[in-house]
Subunit: 366 residues, 2 copies
DNA sequence: CGACATCGTCTAAACGTTTCGACGACCGGT
DNA sequence: ACCGGTCGTCGAAACGTTTAGACGATGTCG
């Protein structure tokens, strides 16, 4: 296998000239460059990676830490991994894959052996030990998702408030005059998870701005409670067996509490669901079971699902977390940390709306 | 960040002594080793990866090329990737992830820049350009799956014949006296795909050995034809609208052709399905639709599914391609190629049976 | 016509390992 | 007492780059 010395010899120059010619870091004479190019082609020269790492200041490798939690939706997860690899390649970076069991040990190893220039952290959870580790390692890193303590870290995530606002806008624009948000289980909000709260706040705030009454309900994970919560919302009052509506916040246009009577004319016709896949499915079942059809009777939007809503029956409009968008940005930020210093921050990616036909004008009678 | 010189200085020895102490490649005095260990701990020394690659003969990195074809079942795919990474780590190897769009270019790049010591090729198809590339690169490599031309390559795959035989044994042991195999579409066999054919052959051969009549039918992908094929098999004769049974091969215990009359007492009660996920689902629907229950009326085994059969209704016994088994072996073979030379070969992994309760004794009356 | 920047190239010093060969110390066998 | 062998250690040469510094040659501007 040819090395840079061979190229230099064939081209009749010194190795540094070859190096400069290839990197372009110093001007090289026209004829010389041509001779070098020719030699490179003739010898099929490709710089040795180890030599490059050692001599240069970069390894051109990023570590990607991607836990495979059992609650992960595999296709989405794969899409993220793929997106990171693709984005990294666009910057001439390769990606070293670290898995769950190696999470902290692996990060320590690859960073203190200087095998990687930086770290991309996928699927960040609220209390993610990798966040603290990355901070303490002081290695360039970009997290996709925001940990509980994001101080000193570079994070990328969807703009949840904007996503919620977008959902509200779509529904209001379609003519809906009463909205509901079915959220995560109570525990999620109490744990202080970032996004569910930001989504909720964005939802209520934009509804208030648009002058439309909106109700927010937390939804537990088991089917009866899901059905009860939906019932409570649709009936405009505590209706579920579990009294799920005690978890509800009703707000009028001015932000005040609004209590609809059962069967009230103000029952929401625009529903946003910000929950997990299973919850969506049960809700769809229950809606069908009640003889309501989407979007004729009810318009439904899936808020920031990490799964595929197009295979639901019916398919749901959604505002998904788009892998490519956040991964591209995360890689960019990682690369930028290597030269100019990027100050720590949480960077929000603009939401995009995926139309699958589950939103329409409300039935005139309602 | 401490380097080997620092360790040597603190321990009061030369760097080569440190290196030998850490690698164990030469005997080192007791006290000296202790001093070195102490210095390593004190300085939190970890060898620089680039230095190691350059000085040594290994990079301690494998490339993993994993296409993400759209017909891939994501959870299985992820399981393979995970299994490779885990297996590699057990040999102190890291894994560099190459994706589809980089398939050949990436392989060329990482191997000729000597960034990796070897290549693990996942999800190998019959005509896989990566197979030829790997052969021509002459880099240590292990393929999981067998390409059309496996000459000169090291491959690992499930033992499909043994898997089929295992399925037959289970059914015959349970008391079934007439079996059927529902296979892939005709085109798959005509294309010369290795495993479907080997599975079929193993199935028919073992059935003959056990003295049980068996019928094999190719099944196209669209629902009506799937139903027709199943109908043809269950009715023991051409029964499907499409005449699907013309694709059938009926064999008696001696290997001769056996033509059951419609509704014959010899209609198969033990069914093996070696096809894709969608086909399985339609078959299960059709079985339910005919008022047959599993395993009371019919015993069904999924042959080498790459997807999860435990979520089917009912769950199906299966003989899956187990990621960990093949990946562990592939990594082992890759590692072995680095020192002792491993001669090219196709290595078959023994099948394992996953019981989900879809096989039982046939109804006495049948 | 000097002063001075710029261009093009080279020499040489890193970068951090591994590993070969050498060498003294010590041991057992003759 | 001598020889061969193993043990423990060291010095030095790789491995293949990048890059700072030096140095003529060439061009520009006063």
């Amino acid at each position: 296998m040819a090395n840079i010395h061979d190229v230099a010899r064939v081209a009749g120059v010194s190795i540094s000239t070859v190096s400069y010619a290839l990197s372009g870091k110093r001007p090289i004479g026209e004829k010389t460059r041509l001779r070098i190019d020719e030699a490179v082609r003739e010898l099929d020269y490709m710089p040795n990676a180890a030599g490059r790492m050692l001599g240069g200041t970069r390894t051109r490798i990023f570590a990607l830490t991607a836990p495979l939690r059992n609650d992960t939706y595999a296709p989405a997860h794969m899409a993220f991994v793929l997106a990171v690899v693709t984005a990294a390649r666009a910057h001439d970076y390769d990606v070293l894959l670290l898995t769950e069991d190696e999470a902290t040990g692996g990060l320590r190893r690859v960073s203190s052996s200087r095998l990687v220039d930086g770290i991309i952290v996928l699927d960040v959870s609220v209390n993610d030990e990798r966040a603290d580790l990355v901070r303490s390692l002081g290695v360039p890193a970009a997290l996709i998702g925001v940990p509980g303590n994001a101080e000193g870290l570079v994070c990328v995530d969807l703009d949840f408030e904007a996503a919620a606002a977008l959902a509200v806008d779509r529904l209001v624009d379609a003519g809906h005059t009463s909205l509901a948000l079915l959220g995560h289980p109570r525990a999620v909000y109490e744990r202080g998870s970032n996004f569910p709260m930001r989504f909720r706040d964005g939802f209520l705030a934009r509804a208030a701005e648009r002058g439309v009454p909106a109700v927010f309900t937390m939804v537990e994970k088991d089917s009866p409670q899901i059905r009860a919560a939906l019932g409570g919302v649709l009936d405009g009052a505590p209706g579920g067996a579990e009294g799920a509506a005690t978890d509800s916040v009703h707000r009028g246009a001015t932000g005040g509490v609004h209590n609809g009577a059962p069967g009230s004319a103000h029952a929401p016709t625009g529903i946003v669901v910000h929950a997990e896949e299973g919850v969506h499915k049960v809700i769809l079942e229950e809606i069908a079971h009640r003889g309501l059809s989407i979007p004729a009777d009810l318009s439904v939007i899936a808020g920031v699902p990490t799964f595929d809503t197009s295979s639901f029956t019916p398919a749901l409009d959604s505002i998904p977390l788009i892998p490519v968008d956040s991964c591209v940005r995360a890689v960019e930020l990682a690369v930028q940390q290597l030269d100019g210093t990027v100050e720590p921050r949480v960077e929000l990616v603009a939401p995009k709306y995926r139309d699958h036909g589950s939103v329409a004008a409300p039935r005139p009678g309602s």
